[in-house]
């Protein structure tokens, strides 16, 4: 996993509420057996018209947002299915940070596993960041995970919370499995006790 330390980039505003995982990546694109290549179908139904041409009104089809690395989203972002294809599609497009008032649980978890930082900030703060994002290329945001701050174009710093363990993993690009493997003796002991006490499990 690519570590996440500091990111300075263009932020795209996508304020609509309840953007579900079917919107992020529709089911018909889940037939892949790879993690990569989903970026072209990110937000497919919003991004393309029925004839396949780009919808010029959609934010990621406009300059400079084609190169957005940060997404400022609405409440309950990522609700719906557990498909990790949603963060994979975001990542493949180039988005490494999503800021929203709140997220659906599974999507939120899935982001951390893929080197994407999801940040929860109150709606008023998101509104200010949305206004910044509207300014386009002149208004890059900086996300500093080490210091846990988002730096607005005017220099104002906004603090955000992040789980310490997840922060550690993101900063160092650590894979959970390797870390859990270190607890293997405890898992063995648990299983041995289980087999004796509740053999049907």
């Amino acid at each position: 996993m690519q570590p996440f330390t500091t990111l300075t980039g263009i932020a795209a505003p996508l304020p609509q509420p309840n953007v579900d995982t079917d919107k992020i990546i529709p089911a018909r694109f889940l037939k892949t057996i790879l993690r990569t290549g989903l970026g072209k179908n990110l937000f497919d139904t919003l991004r393309y018209r029925p004839d396949g041409s780009e919808n010029p009104d959609f934010i990621l089809n406009r300059e400079p947002y084609r190169k957005a690395e940060i997404l400022i989203a609405g409440p309950n972002f990522g609700c719906g299915s557990s498909r990790e294809h949603a963060p994979w599609a975001l990542l493949d497009f180039g988005i490494r940070c999503v800021i929203a008032p709140d997220f659906a649980d599974i999507f939120f978890n899935n982001c951390f596993k893929n080197g994407i930082l999801p940040i929860k900030l109150p709606q008023e703060v998101c509104d200010a960041l949305l206004a910044d994002a509207e300014l386009g290329a002149n208004a890059r945001l900086t996300v500093d995970l080490e210091r846990q701050v988002v730096v607005r174009p005017n220099g104002e710093e906004i603090r955000f919370e992040v789980d310490p363990f997840r922060k550690h993993c993101l900063l160092n690009g650590l894979d959970d499995i390797g870390q859990t493997m270190a607890h293997a003796p405890k898992i063995d002991a648990f299983e041995t006790r289980r087999r004796a006490e509740q053999p049907w499990l």
Binding site: P15, Q16, P17, N18, D20, D22, K23, P26, A27, R28, L30, K31, T32, I33, L34, R35, T45, P50, G74, P75, N76, C79, G80, S81, S82, R83, E84, P87, D102, A104, D105, I106, N109, N110, K113, N114, D163, P164, F165, D176, I177, T180, M181, H183, A184, K186, I187, F190, E191, R194, Q198, P199, W200, L201
Partner: protein
């Protein structure tokens, strides 16, 4: 354990599965059963292969292909190349890693959340995961069951554990008796209508109360299934005699002395008297009416006897705009009577409503009636065994006679990954769980409802109060 405070069902299952508690409160949680399907697993197996890892407990892992499979005759294999590759990849992976698998032509094949309970794989007190958000379904048996992403699928395959923070407890109590003509689907739609699609975020919902206790296992599964539409990763119903009777004798259920020990433990699981919940919601069952959705979020519910709501009544500009967008997408106008809305397609199936009880309910409405000409109505059993059971009861004949298509088991038009898709602008009365834009096919319009109501829509050609057909 020196635990004396009254605990909830969730607390008890959680506590009994903690392998290790890390300093920040994150727990390494042991996973009893892992269900695997073709869409969210290929990258996980690939990850294992690349790291030279094994599946830690193939005996606790079960695989089946469901999302992507055709529901027409499959004896000649899968025609669509990408779907075929995905299913073949699963078959290759289960063979390589020694994971039990129900092949496509096996009667036990079906939607993973129908198959788990049906085979007795899902049992009370277990932790159950699957790379699919509707894993919440298995909570109906009193198991802590939730959906995970592909990285977590890989994590469970390799370690049989997950790193998790405990969820908050939410109690949804449904008091009193459910009126005639209403079903478990109406209960859960009423709940989601009340709490909203983010209402359960961060929580596990325990469903309790007289109306829940009175439900059979199929109804309980319908309720727990849609916990995720209420924002909760898991739903739970305390195991009771109904649960035990359902599990007894199933292929993977405990047998002999193990059965007695298991039941004794299961009886200790229900929440203790005085256990506290972070949030409590009370719903009065006698007030529930048959419900349908009008918008593109499962919280957009109205009584079938009601009308399309007016966005002007929303509290903020953002909400007005969001609701207006939904109306435009759905092709509806404020004030329009729900029962005047004509449908093009009817879909009866999915892990929400694809069990034998659901097919019986649909057949009861279809019997002696005809699907309106121009309407495509399909019934997709949740598993091959559900299909066989329905055929043994002659339900297939009743449905085919009425003009329904009778298909092979799978997810089908619930998410339209296989050829079963809506065309742009088509309107569907569906027993599935999500009415998101494009969920059942690009541009498709979905109204969620119970199987009886969907069957009623098929025979009248419009959204219909099933209670009127009963008169």
């Amino acid at each position: 354990m020196a635990e004396t405070r009254p605990r909830t069902l969730f607390d008890k299952i959680w506590d009994s599965h903690v392998v290790e508690r890390l300093p920040d409160g994150t727990c390494l949680l042991y996973i009893d059963r892992h269900l695997v399907h073709e869409v969210t697993s290929p990258q996980a197996f690939e990850g294992l292969r690349m790291a030279g890892r094994q599946v830690r407990r193939p005996d606790a892992t079960f695989a089946v292909a469901d999302h992507n499979v055709p529901t027409s005759d499959r004896s000649a294999g899968i025609a669509e190349p990408e779907s075929r590759i995905q299913v073949e990849t699963l078959e290759k992976n289960v063979a390589e890693f020694g994971v039990p698998y129900f092949p496509l032509l096996d009667a036990r094949q079906g939607i993973v959340h129908i198959v788990g309970p049906e085979q007795g794989i899902s049992q009370p007190g277990m932790t159950i995961v699957c790379g699919d958000s509707h894993t919440s379904t298995h909570g109906a048996l009193g198991a802590l069951a939730f959906g995970i992403g592909t990285s977590e699928v890989e994590h469970v395959l390799a370690t049989q554990t997950l790193l998790q923070k405990p969820a908050k407890n939410m109690l949804v109590r449904v008091d009193g008796a459910l009126p005639l003509g209403c079903t478990a689907k109406d209960i859960i739609l009423a709940i989601i209508g009340r709490i909203g699609t983010a209402g359960g975020t961060g929580h596990v919902i325990e469903y309790a109360g007289e109306a829940i206790r009175a439900l059979d296992m199929a109804g309980r599964m319908t309720i727990c299934n849609m916990s995720i539409e209420g924002g909760a990763r898991a739903g739970l119903i305390a195991p009771d005699e109904t649960t035990f009777a359902y599990i007894k004798g199933r292929p993977h259920a405990p047998k002999g002395e193990a059965w007695d020990r298991a039941v004794a433990w299961w009886k200790s699981l229900p929440s203790d008297e005085g256990a506290s919940y972070d949030t409590t919601i009370v719903i009065n069952a006698p007030d529930i009416v048959p419900l349908v959705t009008w918008g593109t979020s499962p919280e957009d519910v109205v009584p079938v006897t009601g009308a399309v709501p007016d966005p002007a009544n929303e509290s903020s500009e953002a909400r007005r705009a969001a609701k207006q967008r939904m109306l435009d997408y759905m092709g509806l106008t404020p004030g329009q009577r729900m029962q005047d809305i004509a449908v093009d397609v009817v879909f009866i199936g999915s892990c929400t409503n694809g069990r034998i009880e659901d097919i019986r309910a649909a057949a009861a409405v279809a019997k002696g009636r005809k699907v309106v000409s121009g309407v495509r109505a399909m019934v997709v059993p949740g598993s091959g065994l559900v299909k066989e059971a329905a055929e043994a009861e002659g339900l297939d004949k009743v449905l085919i006679e009425a003009g329904f298509e009778w298909r092979e088991a799978g997810c089908s038009m619930c998410l339209g990954m296989n050829p079963d898709q809506l065309k742009p602008g088509q309107r569907c009365a569906s027993t599935s769980n999500r009415n998101f834009e494009g969920r059942q096919g690009p541009g498709g319009r979905t109204h969620l409802m119970s199987p009886a109501m969907a069957a009623a829509a098929a025979v009248t050609g419009r959204l219909t109060d099933v209670r009127e057909l009963a008169r």
